[in-house]
């Protein structure tokens, strides 16, 4: 039986094994797969199954449906294809990839971890509240950070282990000023200034990067999340 693994920010929140010929994906509760996120339309997409083939069809959604990061209207799925809808990714496999270890429902749908899903959605809503309250973009302290929220108000924000920088980061091998965040006309970019390899975006070392909403910035041992506001 085909299987769809639903992930939210790289965490598996649901594993769907279905005998249905077609499942609907969207924000409202009457969908087979409910994705609670602003970027998801009410009736966002359909996935149709036929023998060993599957097709994903975008339902003229506002923010689009992507397969392997390419925007599609209709696409035949192959094993391990990743469908991206809002902040969710759905990984397709024509056969179940692991033993079912939870209680299966009548149609084979199985929710493995609703608690984790709820927590992720709660965090998302807290972030949204912070950004909405301020209006602009912020850094949220995730790991080893001395603050929960830092507003990106300046033209240039410095990050490092020196006392005089705006945002403190931890790590013995860090430079005094390890990186800077520059306010650009349409958003923010991050530039490494200090030792190489100590500034990472989503786990990858960078020299410079345009920041996207939700990017995880790691400087030394400290991690921040970049949350984009409405106004710059």
């Amino acid at each position: 039986m085909p299987e769809i693994v639903v992930k939210y920010e790289d965490k598996v929140i649901e594993r769907i094994v279905t005998e249905k010929k077609r499942i609907s994906v969207g924000r409202t509760n009457d969908n087979d797969v409910v994705l609670e996120n602003r970027g998801v339309s009410r009736k966002h997409a359909m996935i149709e199954f036929n023998d060993n083939a599957a097709v994903v069809i975008d339902n003229e959604s506002l923010n689009g449906t992507f397969v392997n990061n390419r925007k599609i209207t209709e696409e035949v799925l192959r094993d391990d294809d990743v469908i991206t809808i809002g902040k969710y990714s759905l990984v397709y496999n024509s056969q179940t990839t692991r033993d079912q270890d939870g209680g299966a429902g009548f149609d084979g749908t199985m929710v493995l971890n609703t608690k984790a899903q709820k927590k992720l959605l709660e965090n998302d809503s807290i972030e949204r509240q912070i950004v909405e309250k301020y209006g602009g973009s912020v850094l949220l302290g995730m790991e080893n950070s001395s603050f929960a929220e830092f507003r990106l108000e300046r033209e240039v924000t410095t990050i490092g282990k020196a006392k005089f920088v705006h945002v403190q980061a931890k790590g013995f091998w860090l430079s005094g000023i390890q990186a800077k965040i520059i306010k650009e006309e349409h958003g923010f970019s991050l530039v490494n200034l200090g030792k190489q390899g100590k500034t990472l975006v989503n786990g990858e070392p960078v020299n410079s990067a345009v920041l996207k909403n939700g990017d995880l910035i790691t400087v030394g041992k400290t991690t921040f999340k970049f949350v984009e506001g409405k106004t710059q």
Binding site: V156, F164, S175, I177, L193, G194
Partner: protein, 242 residues
């Protein structure tokens, strides 16, 4: 302890090389650089590497801050801004990483070191006058502070109950009764009508402050600046010492 204090090298490798050779002869225990290694001159990268290798203390100057893109070069005059932009284009990632580790200020026992002023170091306040020294002294936590920034070798002293006094830089011995803010002058672009490179040696055991002036190959520095296409006003001022 004998401390050598150098500041405002401004990419002048000829001046820096001559000063470091002079310091070598004087058998000091440590060398402290008070910032502005780059800007104006033709060899910013070579000067950064030489300072990084030889100095025990490396402080941030406003020209490093600007070269790192942490403040706008709009605060500079036209010639300085042209030089900053030229300097930025010369520097590699590893040169920037050297500057990124410069400290804003430093306290060694009873000595404070900073590029511009103990008052809000990152605001780069100038101290030209006795009035400007008042707030600086209020923020000085030690008996003696050394700085650069204005390129003018000046000694500000504040005795108890006395008004602040400024004097041109000269070799002297610090007194027990006073506190001092001492500008060590500039290695790479002196502005006190003396074209020779300037630096200071402080003997913290004896309390002696020595101002040293060193001749260097100004022609060679000027030639390089002309080849690099740096502004004429910056080239000619080296020979005049202003």
């Amino acid at each position: 302890m004998k401390h050598a204090l150098v500041s405002d090298i401004h990419g002048n490798l000829e001046a820096l090389t001559a000063v470091l050779a002079d310091i070598e002869k004087r058998k000091v225990d440590s060398i402290h650089c008070l910032g502005d290694v780059v800007g104006y001159g033709p060899d910013p990268a070579a000067c950064l590497k030489m300072i990084d290798r030889t100095c025990d203390t490396k402080l941030m100057g406003n020209h490093e801050f600007t070269a790192l893109g942490l403040q706008s070069s709009g605060v500079f005059n036209n010639a300085a801004r042209a030089a900053v932009e030229w300097t930025q284009a010369q520097l590699t990632d590893s040169d920037r990483a050297i500057m990124a580790d410069f400290e804003m200020d430093k306290t060694l026992d009873n000595i404070y070191l900073v590029h511009a002023s103990p008052l809000e170091p990152v605001q780069w306040h100038y101290i030209f006058t006795e009035e400007e020294a008042v707030a600086a002294f209020q923020n000085l936590k030690t008996e003696i502070g050394f700085m650069g920034h204005s390129h003018l070798p000046l000694i500000f002293s504040a005795g108890p109950g006395k008004r602040i006094r400024s004097q041109a830089g000269h070799t002297f011995q610090v007194g027990d009764e006073s506190r001092y803010l001492i500008n060590v002058g500039s290695v790479g672009q002196p502005r006190d009508n003396d074209r020779r490179a300037c630096y200071v040696v402080f003997d913290s055991d004896e309390g002696d402050v020595f101002y040293h002036r060193v001749e260097y190959d100004i022609d060679a520095a000027q030639q390089k600046m002309a080849t690099a296409g740096l502004p004429e006003v910056l080239i000619s001022r080296l020979a005049a010492g202003l």
